[in-house]
């Protein structure tokens, strides 16, 4: 009984994860090998695809990797700071106002971005932040703020009221209380927010495509799109590119997978 369950599980998982295997294995093959035996192990093992995308492709890979790393980390910091501040300070408002704010946050959480992309773009243009990484980061911060706030609020509930009251009696103001008491408590929740918003921001395609344009540089996803647009690509290089741009999130996930799932559950309002 147990072995049957193990067998079925492994068999289904292999089928399910087969596309991942394909991408990975083919990134180490020569072009002919890919076309003739896509599913097998490499007949001749090669790193050429990886070397090629670093050497040619107009620095597309190195450029997009650096850009993505920078703007993803900045977006994460913005989301962390702003949403933890909001989650903490909302606490002191009346129930009614809290609820109104939460309805708006929920609206933001379920909002498909294409709906607001045009006005966001005009607003950023108005303040001269269109086509800049700062503009994009601000937008991501705003867009993922509801998620961060909901996760942090879940953790805030566990903080005893007395603890906060006590700090105020000791003469602390809101900022001191936030920095000294709340931030340390929110640390485990931060891990969830970091890994989840990080993954979302890293993987996002449409927003950087529209809000960033081509001149400011590219992100990993837009870089992939550009690479495919160039007719001279071959499959091996495409696969290698996909492996490299997915690796950072995959590694982050493997190390922080516990927080990932906790965060998703917390963010879903449970």
């Amino acid at each position: 009984m147990f072995y049957r369950q193990v067998f079925i599980s492994i068999f289904l998982s292999i089928i399910f994860l087969f596309p991942l295997y394909l991408v990975f294995v083919n990134s180490f093959k020569f072009e002919n090998d890919i076309l003739n035996n896509p599913a097998s192990f490499p007949e001749l093992f090669t790193f050429n695809n990886y070397i090629n995308i670093f050497v040619k492709s107009n620095d597309l890979l190195s450029n997009s990797l650096t850009n993505s790393i920078i703007f993803t980390s900045l977006s994460i910091i913005f989301v962390l700071v702003l949403s933890s501040m909001l989650a903490f300070s909302i606490h002191f408002l009346s129930k009614k106002i809290q609820n109104i704010i939460f309805i708006f946050l929920l609206l933001g959480l379920i909002l498909p971005t294409p709906i607001i992309l045009i006005p966001v773009f005009t607003i950023l243009k108005f303040v001269n932040l269109n086509n800049t990484f700062i503009g994009l980061i601000l937008f991501f911060a705003a867009y993922y703020l509801p998620f961060g706030t909901l996760v942090f609020r879940g953790f805030m509930k566990n903080i005893p009221k007395e603890m906060i009251e006590a700090s105020f009696i000791d003469g602390a103001n809101f900022i001191v209380c936030y920095l000294k008491i709340i931030l340390p408590i929110l640390k485990p929740a931060s891990a969830s927010v970091i890994i989840i918003t990080g993954t979302w921001v890293w993987n996002d395609f449409l927003n950087p495509l529209i809000l960033l344009g081509p001149l400011e540089g590219t992100t990993v996803t837009v870089g992939l799109y550009r690479m495919v647009g160039q007719y001279s690509i071959n499959f091996g290089e495409l696969y290698a590119f996909m492996v490299l741009i997915s690796l950072p999130v995959l590694i982050a996930y493997l190390f922080l997978q516990k927080y990932f799932i906790e965060g998703l559950l917390a963010g879903s309002g449970k």
Partner: protein, 291 residues
């Protein structure tokens, strides 16, 4: 501690987030509503007020209804397939042995990947001489299906790529939910002599209601904003056979340069997606309470 106007420090904490959120999320929603009554061109920077004319035109726009239909079909398929397979995977993997721990971690990886990576992955698998057709021909099934070139199959391909990622998500949420079902309850049911189907119907299914709600809502949201996967897979083609509503809006706004018209479609999308999500939440939420 009471808040009063003197609490400058309090406002320093609460305002940055709220201001940013209002300017870049709430205010744009208002602007979308405002824009939808105008004829706007970014090329010439013209803003002409034309009233409800945009909405009137949408009534005659085949592409709009085509895209709505595509998104509805996709969401029905995605909700059913991902939930069913998610539950099956979750039931299979709900075991404490180490192997299952590893499988649980692996099964979630598709959800971590960028949709555009997934789009291109499936695009290479599903081409005419791609791996799927080669694989089928090993078993002498020479279907010669053009997975991406035939209008019907193109939609099937999009559903496959979409569900693949969502199944991963659903599985994990169901697993988390299953953990909360007390062992004693299961044992008790088993002693009662219920068969597997009965056990699932009367024990697991009602208790999995919270996970079903989360999954369904997440699936609906991701179908309504579906863009990158389809772009990479079929580009919305052949013709407009797989063009999602998000693609139509972006194309109308940025490629056809009809910003007002695109805004009016966005507004309708907002209403449709909001209503669908709301109905799902209320309906499924009620189910949770009932049990």
């Amino acid at each position: 501690m009471k808040i009063n106007k003197k609490n400058l420090d309090y406002f320093l904490l609460i305002s940055p987030g709220l201001i940013l959120f209002s300017t870049l999320i709430i205010f744009p929603i208002c602007l979308t509503i405002f824009y939808s009554f105008f004829k706007i061109s970014f090329l010439t920077n013209n803003y002409d007020f034309i009233g409800y004319k945009n909405f009137y035109k949408i009534l005659y726009k085949k592409e709009f209804f085509n895209s709505i239909q595509i998104v509805l079909v996709l969401s029905i398929v995605a909700v059913t397939v991902s939930n069913i397979l998610g539950i099956i995977f979750a039931k299979l993997f709900n075991h404490d042995h180490k192997i299952f721990l590893i499988l649980r971690i692996l099964i979630f990886t598709p959800f971590i990947l960028s949709p555009i990576v997934i789009g291109y992955t499936f695009a290479t698998i599903l081409t005419d001489k791609g791996i799927l057709n080669q694989f089928l021909s090993i078993f002498f099934i020479n279907l010669e299906i053009s997975w991406l070139g035939n209008p019907t199959y193109a939609l099937v391909s999009v559903s496959i790529a979409l569900c693949w990622q969502l199944i991963a998500f659903c599985t994990v949420i169901y697993l988390a939910n299953l953990k909360n079902i007390p062992r004693e309850l299961e044992d008790a049911v088993e002693i009662d002599g219920a068969n597997k189907i009965q056990k699932f119907r009367y024990l697991d299914w009602p208790l999995l209601a919270p996970a079903l709600t989360i999954n369904t809502v997440v699936i609906l949201i991701s179908t309504f904003k579906l863009y990158d996967r389809v772009l990479a897979l079929t580009g919305g083609g052949p013709g407009r056979a797989s063009e999602t509503i998000a693609m139509l809006i972006i194309r109308t706004a940025f490629n056809e340069n009809r910003v007002g018209f695109a805004s009016s479609m966005s507004l309708l999308l907002l209403i449709i997606s909001g209503a669908t999500t709301f109905i799902a939440l209320v309906y499924l939420g009620k189910r949770e309470v009932d049990n």
